[in-house]
Symmetry: C2
Subunit: 216 residues, 2 copies
């Protein structure tokens, strides 16, 4: 028997879910909550296997609830439910403990499927959601590739120096490490500041990491 907690601020929605789930032989809604506070309070009393959690709860949001649940009740699964197929919402809650994400226009069958899948220890995402994620994933990759091209090529030796700078070596230590003069290292540093259009070491490191310059 799968013990279920439902958390959403719309009573009718909660009751509808309740009605659907209680028709199943292997499921039981043991707790209904209407705010984030209530979820955290109720969790001290009852032990659900899974929480159907609206991420847009008033007060303490679903995301914050999810964080807390992950930290304090790691054995409790979370299926996030939302009206919105927004990439930022999805990644945020996946980030914070949810094992699945479905939309509110999901049918009865898929809902039951999602609950059983997650309680079986797997993860579940509705097809709309995966599509959204994949698209934004591709976009980000494209962007990160595109922006890289503004940066002039950094030479082999400069990369060696840059690597050591990022690793917290001082100019003196770099000189010793590479068996070259302190003044030579200073030359490379100066070139790097120019090429990467940085004002100081902080900028050097930031730009290096933002553009993954050392990863080639």
């Amino acid at each position: 028997m799968i013990k279920i907690m439902v958390a959403d601020d719309h009573t009718m929605f909660v009751d509808g879910i309740d009605s659907i789930l209680n028709k199943e032989n292997d499921m039981q809604v043991i707790c209904k909550c209407y705010t984030g506070e209530e979820v955290l309070k109720q969790l001290k009393e009852v032990q659900p296997d899974i929480i159907l959690l609206d991420i847009n709860l008033p007060g303490i949001t679903g995301i914050e609830v999810s964080k807390t649940v992950l930290a304090e009740y790691p054995e409790v699964k979370i299926l996030a439910i939302s009206m919105f197929n927004e990439e930022s919402f999805v990644t945020e809650i996946l980030n914070n403990g949810a094992q699945g994400y479905i939309l509110k226009n999901t049918g009865r069958k898929e809902l039951l499927d999602a609950i059983r899948t997650i309680c079986g220890g797997k993860t579940y995402f509705s097809k709309d959601v995966t599509n959204t994620i994949m698209k934004s994933l591709m976009k980000k990759r494209m962007e990160s590739k595109g922006s890289t091209k503004l940066i002039p090529k950094v030479s082999r030796r400069e990369k060696e120096v840059l690597k050591l700078i990022v690793e917290e070596f001082t100019t003196q230590e770099i000189a010793k490490e590479l068996f070259i003069s302190l003044k030579t290292v200073e030359s490379h540093r100066s070139s790097l500041l120019n090429k990467l259009n940085a004002r100081n070491t902080a900028g050097l490191v930031r730009i290096t990491m933002e553009n993954k310059i050392l990863e080639n």
Copy 2:
């Protein structure tokens, strides 16, 4: 009519695909290739709408072919085909121009679906593939969250200072920006070096970015 190029080093596979696709009224295989070199050579002669591209081609790999196609023939779509449902392969080729990714054990119907979807300007991923991606995406998030916990909490003011350091402000400039003394900023810097276990500004910036300290 969708013009298709098929590229795979297994003749029987290519012929099978050819047979399947030519039965469709709206598709036509206009070119068959068996190596990466051949693909690049043939593209100077023929103009396919889409390339069914094995990513494990001998010689020039599918990934490299994809890079070139993206750069030189951006209007040509690519559907990557592979035996392996490996996260690294998938992300790599999505990184480099493919609009879709399906496995070789995909059925006839899904193949046709994928081709039509991509030629319609959308992207297509088989369900197995999306699952793999989502899983690895979650894993990475978990890991990045886990490692964060070794770092002591950075206070509100320290974060403000840290943010400006990363943005290439000098100590003097930070003092002016925050309307506090130079010595106060130095105090915060010193605390940050201690807390983040860094030796200098470079380490401060690197650790900040590696652990996404400013993103909360």
